[in-house]
């Protein structure tokens, strides 16, 4: 049985409405009384009951996050940052790992102020289902065009930027390593970016320079890099890689094969996260910086809650950051 403002009131010899005001730091309470009440509250270990508060305020200062794939490591950095940013705006973040439909229902019953849905493999996900929700929902990482509020990053353009830059510094034999095996449309987007870029730059598409991995783990990248070189053709001078973990694997393979970076091979990695620069070689990276994504999502959520107008479909544009892993090609 936790203690309430009424307990504090009895203790302090004031009415409980005064306690409420004091704890909310209202100017309608005299300084000394306020001090006294706050002190008592602390002593008793008072914890405001959010349930009662949100009942009267119709606001819970809580954001529900639908997180159906705990298994996937990728967006975890993102959710961590969003959690932090929202906290600094005194919002609490709660996650549900249920299926979107039931998670959204849960959050509705909990009267959260907004719901953030992380996209997953399309199979059991379909925003068109139009989940009944009186709470505004923001979707992230949904490739489909929908009538719903979405925010996402431009993966296609990211890879294009990488290819374009490599061409600009003289490379023409540019390989791509990424996961095209899965049904994940997000991965496909990147590959399309690669193909489009080659086309626009009038570079030939060579099948042996396209390696599809069977996953997004380090080892998958390691294998892919080895198979790229196994062909024995050392023509490849530059490489675009679809994710951070794959890049790590590629570096390991390069080390093993005594390939020097960037002397023998220039590399640009997708995933604009700080970790990329902490690898053995400071790798060039492309994509929307993760903190920019986190900020954009947080801001959008707060806007939605405040009833401000928001674009129904926000696309974040990628940035290329060139580090040590790229060198011009001298023929």
């Amino acid at each position: 049985m936790s203690i309430t403002i009424k307990d504090i009131a009895k203790y302090a010899g004031v009415s409980y409405s005064t306690v409420s005001k004091a704890l909310r730091n209202s100017p309608l309470v005299k300084e000394p009384t306020k001090k006294k009440i706050i002190k008592i509250a602390e002593e008793l270990g008072y914890q405001p009951n959010v349930v009662a508060r949100s009942l009267v305020q119709k606001k819970s200062y809580t954001i529900g996050v639908v997180w159906p794939t705990v298994e996937r490591v990728a967006p975890s950095v993102l959710i961590t940052q969003i959690n932090y940013l929202l906290e600094s705006h005194s919002y609490t973040t709660l996650l549900s790992i249920n299926k979107p439909e039931s998670a959204i229902a849960t959050f509705n019953r909990f009267q959260v102020d907004a719901i953030l849905v992380f996209g997953e493999n399309e199979e059991d996900f379909n925003p068109a289902k139009n989940y009944a929700s009186s709470v505004p929902i923001l979707y992230y990482g949904i490739s489909k065009n929908t009538d719903y509020l979405t925010i996402d990053v431009n993966r296609r353009l990211a890879i294009k930027l990488a290819v374009q830059y490599l061409k600009k510094i003289g490379h023409e034999q540019i390989a791509y390593i990424g996961d095209m095996s899965s049904t994940d449309p997000l991965q496909k987007e990147k590959f399309i970016g690669y193909l489009e870029a080659l086309n626009e730059l009038s570079l030939a598409v060579k099948p042996e320079m396209i390696i599809s991995t069977n996953g997004l783990e380090l080892y998958d990248g390691y294998l892919a890099a080895k198979s790229l070189w196994h062909a024995g053709d050392d023509q490849v001078t530059a490489l675009v890689c679809g994710s951070y973990d794959l890049t790590r694997g590629i570096l390991r393979a390069a080390q093993e094969q005594k390939k020097r970076i960037p002397d023998d091979l220039s590399i640009i990695s997708y995933d604009n996260i700080p970790q990329v620069e902490n690898l053995d070689v400071r790798i060039s990276k492309v994509g929307v910086p993760i903190d920019r994504i986190a900020k954009a999502i947080t801001k959008t959520i707060l806007n939605i809650i405040d009833g401000n107008d928001v674009q129904s479909s926000i696309i974040l544009e990628p940035e290329l950051k060139v580090m040590d892993s790229c060198a011009p090609l001298n023929k």
Copy 2:
């Protein structure tokens, strides 16, 4: 603005308390009225307001899970199962990725019925801090002995079982691959189990047969296995491995080195999860089966909520499941 039982009452031409009873399937309401009310509720898309309900019932039918390490893949299967089991008991699971202290405070304000804390690297975690909580807390994966309610698996015995079995079928050169580099006490426990088993069986401890990885990823296992064989000593006839992902890497390395399993090498892997059997070779595994852990945790939580007596420190004992990856040693 979501709709309430009052809206339904107006619509159905009854009082709202009748609606409340009908929706709770009370026998005090006539069947036809009940049917009618339920139908209307569905049509209007009524969602009971948990906030109001838990205020009056002092029960939210919600379990808070403190999940400070979204990044770690390991326990994600576990939380998924727990979530499912609790759901089938009509409890909702909510996660917080905040630090334990603030997550616990949050869940207290939300009046959850119980809190489940997943242990993490000890650094910023210390149950001795005695977080103020009027809600019962259950800790999982805390190695330290505390006064708090804990439930955990016996990792040390698990590895011992593996070593003992290998000895029984004739092996004497038994290697161990695991992560001893981190400060994670859970990993250390496993290693201690290995050493104790060797001692008890009067087997020599050979440093070259103990490979410490620098992580728990597939690639770490791959590297470890290679370095084990690189020593050129092919004396090792059996191997105990500290985790599922490491085992996957070891298998890859074995494939590459044309080592046959179990003919050239017997393997037992820690982590008693179904996935282990789906690898190229059906690997023997040891540990507490994940669904048994999930069931035990769920049951304990429900017991705590119902006010039943629970052991303050529950230890789950491991099982060894021998599959294709072990063969007797014929000298």
